[in-house]
């Protein structure tokens, strides 16, 4: 079967070669590692603290679109599809189930997922995530990974859209006009 030539995404973020799957050195770093070094140097900036927001227990935060997006992605890539579905707008859960049923748990992974930036327009939030996402390949069987460390990336693979409900809680959406 002709599987065509490999093409790289024309994005600001990085699509890693398959051989780099286990090469941690190519993965974008977590800002918290920086923080540890800075604390040792008795310096702690507000910027670094903000960068560590992705280490907060997101289950206790229900109204932050960025943290909801992080939880949603972590759940999807760790096999917790039911939990991820609860974060999707009820009107769009059918779409979620349709695609989530195709996920091969052993082939996908998400690491160092954090909030890069959040842009809110009216009732819609656009969250750019940082981190590393791996999806499945069939030839050869394995995984293909991509990383993003750009807070303003235009790579749709790292963008989650959310809509604010009437009680202020954000839900993941795929199409506008969810509420």
């Amino acid at each position: 079967m002709d599987r065509g030539r490999q093409r790289r995404h024309d994005y600001e973020s990085t699509v890693e070669p398959k051989s780099s799957n286990s090469d941690k050195r190519t993965v974008n770093f977590c800002a918290c590692r920086r923080a540890s070094l800075l604390v040792l140097g008795l310096v702690m900036s507000a910027v670094v603290l903000a960068s560590c927001a992705n280490q907060v227990d997101t289950s206790k935060v229900t109204k932050s679109p960025g943290l909801i997006a992080v939880s949603y992605v972590r759940d999807i890539f760790s096999g917790h599809v039911t939990q991820a579905e609860e974060l999707v707008a009820p009107s769009q859960r059918k779409i979620f189930r349709e695609f989530a049923s195709q996920i091969k748990p052993g082939l996908v992974s998400a690491t160092h997922v954090g909030v890069g930036s959040v842009r809110i327009v009216n009732k819609t939030a656009f969250v750019i995530l940082t981190g590393r996402l791996c999806s499945g390949t069939t030839n050869p069987p394995g995984s293909h990974c991509m990383s993003n460390s750009n807070r303003r990336s235009n790579n749709p693979a790292f963008e989650v859209k959310l809509a604010r409900s009437s009680n202020g809680t954000y839900f993941v959406i795929y199409q506008p006009e969810s509420f």
Partner: protein, 278 residues
């Protein structure tokens, strides 16, 4: 996905679908049902459901025995795959007859035409010298179609084909045949592909004729659209992201002495997010 082997009335079949909108549905027991097939959209007479069971070879391909239902002389038949279960290596088909008016409304009568043999007008074109009575000469047609449909229910690509074949008694020799393939790809996607082609051939010393329609389209933006709509969910659910997506229809329809018709396909798909289509 299995890729069938060519041959008159003995093709192996694959998981390709035969649906138009809305989409196919896959149940928990592994059956994918194609809800609106070319056959099911027509008012059929003498319709029948056919079930085919195959075997899974060492490469994991499902090789189905192909349906070869008989049809009355001089009629127009449609046959479509209506369900497929790759784990069980089974498929179901719907076959029936339609009127000439319904056949013309299908629009599968133009495009690049495959031809073989001279029109049979009482003389067997393949065995010169045998003269048969015009009363025992029949013309039949068979229509079929194969599609790929994405999860929202949009038909991405399809290939429809119309085979016209003559059957002459008492010799039982096929002669004077033509076939039209019509390829389709979803307008709103960006594509780079080739036109539909059809090769028609006669087998078994003239006892059956097979039209092999072929249509391949390379998709430029399918995975990009899904990434744009779904973001990380597309990353998780798609396989082979970054690889060019290619959809190929390889459709076989046949006519044979009897007369009877035959159907099989060896469609294939590959590349980014192709795993999401049925």
């Amino acid at each position: 996905m299995s890729v069938g082997t060519a041959g008159a009335f003995g093709h192996s079949s694959s998981a390709a679908s035969t649906t138009t909108q809305p989409a196919s549905t896959t149940s928990a027991n592994g059956w994918t049902n194609y809800n609106d097939t070319l056959a099911s959209l027509q008012a059929l007479t003498d319709s029948q459901a056919i079930k085919s069971s195959g075997t899974i070879d060492s490469s994991g391909n499902c090789n189905l025995s192909n349906p070869e239902p008989p049809i009355p002389n001089g009629t127009i038949a449609i046959i479509s795959e209506t369900a497929y279960n790759p784990a069980l290596c089974q498929a179901t088909y719907l076959q029936g007859l339609i009127t000439p008016t319904a056949a013309s409304s299908l629009g599968i009568t133009s495009g690049p035409q495959g031809n073989v043999g001279a029109p049979a007008t009482g003389t067997n074109a393949l065995t010169p010298g045998i003269v048969v009575s015009p009363l025992n000469e029949y013309n039949s047609q068979v229509f079929s179609k194969a599609d790929y449909v994405d999860p929202p229910g949009i038909t991405i690509t399809s290939l429809a084909e119309n085979l016209s074949f003559n059957y002459i008694e008492p010799s039982g020799v096929i002669g004077g045949n033509s076939a039209y393939p019509v390829g389709y790809h979803w307008y709103w996607d960006i594509w780079g592909g080739a036109a539909a082609t059809s090769n028609i051939s006669i087998h078994d010393s003239g006892l059956d004729v097979v039209a092999n329609g072929y249509y391949q389209q390379t998709n430029v933006d399918f995975q990009m659209i899904l990434l744009g709509l779904l973001g990380p969910l597309a990353v998780a659910s798609c396989t082979d992201l970054g690889q060019t997506t290619v959809f190929t229809h390889d459709l076989f329809i046949g006519g044979a002495a009897g007369p009877k018709i035959a159907y099989s396909n060896a469609d294939s798909k590959s590349g980014g997010c192709a795993n999401l289509t049925h």
